[in-house]
Symmetry: C2
Subunit: 145 residues, 2 copies
């Protein structure tokens, strides 16, 4: 019941892009350095995100990535669904559901459905902008103290 590093890194990568959304195209090298993540591994995660048009990429010299939309248009749920494949806590709730002949009278299925809803309701309610805002707020508090 863990979020994979792939998902956590993807979120941090997009947050990094959100923080630098006015700096043009950001090279993977810079994200890797700032976030202290292997650039090679990020190279493997990027195409997962890139497939669904949430990023805009530029190859070659001075190339890199930037967000296709502004940070409030990305929810954490949306990002994690890409990297994790699905946020369903059991296989029988996935989009192409794994067949389960017990589903009709499965006594535990409603529990998993409810859990799935609790998870997605929470994660789809948080945008990248929300996370940036809460960070800004924290820094402000630090400054006051």
């Amino acid at each position: 019941m863990k979020i994979s590093t792939k998902g956590r890194y993807a979120l941090r990568m997009l947050l990094d892009l959100a923080e630098h959304k006015n700096d043009g195209y950001i090279a993977l090298k810079d994200i890797a350095a700032r976030q202290n993540i292997s650039k090679k591994y990020l190279e493997q995660i990027i195409p997962i995100l890139n497939r669904s048009d949430i990023l805009s990429a530029n190859r070659g010299y001075q190339g890199g990535y930037r967000l296709a939309k502004s940070p409030e248009h990305y929810t954490v749920g949306q990002i994690l669904r890409l990297t994790e494949g699905s946020l369903a806590p059991v296989a029988c709730l996935e989009h192409d559901p794994v067949e389960c002949d017990r589903a009709d009278d499965c006594i535990t299925l409603p529990v998993w459905k409810g859990l799935h809803k609790a998870i997605t309701d929470y994660l789809d309610g948080i945008t990248l902008q929300d996370i940036l805002d809460s960070q800004a707020e924290r820094y402000a508090n630090d400054y006051i103290i």
Copy 2:
């Protein structure tokens, strides 16, 4: 981000014991047959639950297991914590937290804390009795229709 079969089987096993709580000691063989789960595998799951005094076991002829308390005293969260080790969606939130030197200014940590809370609030709010009740209700409806 999946609940393991170990956790799902543990829940079904305890629900089976709850359904037969007035039938004395229940042999693993019977649970395995009713739930269509390998008895050998259940044998491996049982000690995880047995360690924490939620079961009462009897060895030998006519032996088996029964719940130590009544079904409303078991929450799904409590059971899954035993089999999954922890319900934390990231390692840095576990009980013996995995060290993370970035924790102090980790921008994503509040997200994972909130997710952890959403998950545990939901799962700790459901008891075995709740599940049995919802099943009974469904059967009642079927009967009416």
